[in-house]
């Protein structure tokens, strides 16, 4: 499904952020990516989501090499993903409903069907009553949940979440984690960068740990 082979990533004017990373992810897995601040977690997720390209090595997604993809093919690759960005990337000039419906419009789903799915997604993250509110009027945690609703609304086959519970208190974080696990249960591949909350669900899942750009892997043991 997703395969990284000897991937090195260097940003212009930076050292190597990822060094010689190899990785294989099967469809339907639930994967945690952990590491210090600045270790390269977000960079790894960006490579997988094809929003960055490796400096060397290959990234294969569904057998497509992202470095060799034509620009016109990239959008269709991305529609497989549900992305939750560390900085949310909400659109502050449209309300919650319009934010969440955007991926559906991009996928060509409009009308009542779209509205129904948007409301279902908002309900899942507990924001149905804020449907008409502008994102700027939401609290930090509410914005994070809105970003999650936008990522899951188009029922992607791969969910990539960059610290989706960073701004949430423990009870909300647990709730959100259970949403991700529910997606995982129905066969969605979930890749999540995180630095906490591995305690509850992490037991049977792979944990990729980044230290200074190098990858080590182990089964989760309930880190706190």
């Amino acid at each position: 499904m997703i395969q990284l082979d000897q991937v090195t990533k260097r940003y212009p004017s930076s050292d190597e952020v990822l060094k010689n990373v190899s990785l294989h992810i099967e469809a339907g897995e639930l994967i945690y990516v952990t590491g210090h601040s600045g270790a390269g977690k977000s960079t790894l997720l960006k490579l997988i989501a094809a929003t960055e390209r490796p400096s060397s090595g290959t990234v294969l997604i569904a057998n497509q090499n992202t470095s060799q993809l034509k620009p016109s093919a990239i959008p269709f690759l991305r529609r497989r993903f549900g992305l939750i960005f560390q900085d949310h990337k909400l659109l502050y000039d449209r309300n919650c409903f319009e934010n969440v419906i955007l991926p559906l419009h991009i996928n060509g789903i409009t009308g009542l069907e779209a509205a129904k799915r948007v409301r279902a997604a908002l309900d899942k993250v507990g924001l149905l009553h804020k449907e008409k509110a502008m994102p700027i009027t939401l609290s930090g945690g509410e914005q994070q949940r809105l970003a999650i609703a936008r990522a899951v609304v188009s029922r992607p086959s791969i969910l990539i979440a960059d610290e989706p519970t960073g701004n949430l208190d423990a009870s909300y974080a647990a709730e959100i984690m259970s949403i991700f696990h529910a997606f995982h249960q129905v066969g969605v591949t979930v890749i999540m960068a995180t630095h906490d909350a591995l305690s509850q669900h992490g037991a049977q899942n792979r944990v990729l740990h980044l230290t200074q750009g190098r990858l080590t892997e182990h089964k989760a043991q309930g880190l706190t």
Binding site: R53, R78, L83, K89, D93, L102, P103, T110, G111
Partner: protein
């Protein structure tokens, strides 16, 4: 597939309309600028059009007077008449016989002149043709004059050419000016529409970025901006037409007084459907093109930022 496409179009169009309604003041301002900028060259065009029409009215001023020899016979007069009728450069002419001219002189003459005339024993005036040429170009007129001068039986062909020369110079100066100014305004128009779309894109840069990140195609992103460009062009052109109508009405008053002096009821036309159509099409095209280039450039930047090594 077709349904999907139509859906997307109508949705993009509606979102653009909604956005314009939200920022109604800014939208109006942009349309006003486009309108004014389109209005100016159109006004100049109308003005030039009017000038050249006026110059047709002024034709009669560029007359060539052909005086026949005093001893010219009825035969010679007829011959020259036939010659003039055949000449393709001549628009119109009329004949004034020597007796007619004598009568006119006597009846028109004032006190002083009368005394002179009364002292004359016989009619000293020749037969004459007064000719209006088709061209107002000084050189063509001069050529025609010397051609007439060399016709047998003609004593003298005189060209009232000063006014024609002046008019021609004025017209060529005006044309040069109008071309210059239209060029300048075309630059302004392009920059303004380009800037407007860039500004629009600036306020929606995040939207473009996020849309692209979550899988929108270039076409999906581009469509609403293209509609915005089209609409700005359309509204701008309509505003321009409105302003022009107002100005033409105002000017017709001033021009009427000028036309009066030239004995014509010349007016600038209020409904100039061909000009208006051209205006609307041009504005919409420039709007579309400006939007296309601006959004494509922004998209390319975003794509490039994501494919850098």
């Amino acid at each position: 597939m077709m349904m999907h496409w139509l859906n997307h179009q109508s949705q993009a169009f509606q979102s653009v309309l909604a956005r314009m309604r939200q920022n109604i003041a800014a939208t109006l301002m942009i349309c006003l600028v486009i309108g004014v900028t389109m209005c100016l060259p159109s006004l100049f065009y109308l003005g030039l059009d009017g000038l050249s029409k006026l110059s047709n009215h002024l034709h009669q001023e560029t007359e060539i007077s052909v005086f026949l020899k005093l001893e010219a016979s009825k035969n010679t007069v007829d011959e020259i008449d036939a010659l003039l009728a055949k000449n393709s450069q001549i628009q119109a002419y009329h004949f004034v016989g020597k007796d007619e001219a004598w009568q006119q002189l006597k009846s028109k003459a004032n006190n002083t002149a009368n005394e002179v005339i009364n002292q004359l024993e016989k009619n000293p005036l020749p037969d004459a043709f007064f000719i209006q040429a088709k061209s107002t170009d000084p050189e063509a007129l001069e050529a025609l004059r010397s051609e007439l001068q060399n016709t047998p039986g003609v004593a003298q062909a005189l060209l009232n050419a000063d006014w024609a020369k002046r008019l021609a110079s004025l017209l060529s100066l005006s044309k040069m000016l109008i071309i210059f100014i239209s060029l300048l305004l075309a630059i302004v128009l392009l920059v303004i529409i380009g800037n407007t779309i860039r500004m629009q894109i600036l306020t929606q840069k995040e939207e473009i970025e996020v849309s692209y990140l979550i899988g929108a195609t270039h076409r999906f992103i581009r469509t609403p901006f293209l509609y915005a460009g089209l609409l700005y062009g359309l509204f701008g052109a309509l505003l321009a037409i409105l302003m022009m109508t107002g100005m033409v009405l105002a000017f017709n008053y001033a021009i009427a007084s000028l036309s009066h002096l030239y004995n014509s009821d010349f007016q600038l036309p209020l409904m100039h459907s061909k000009l208006y159509l051209t205006l609307i099409c041009t504005a919409m095209f420039i709007g579309l093109a400006g939007a296309y280039f601006a959004v494509t450039r922004t998209l390319e930047k975003i794509v490039k930022a994501q494919t850098s090594l």
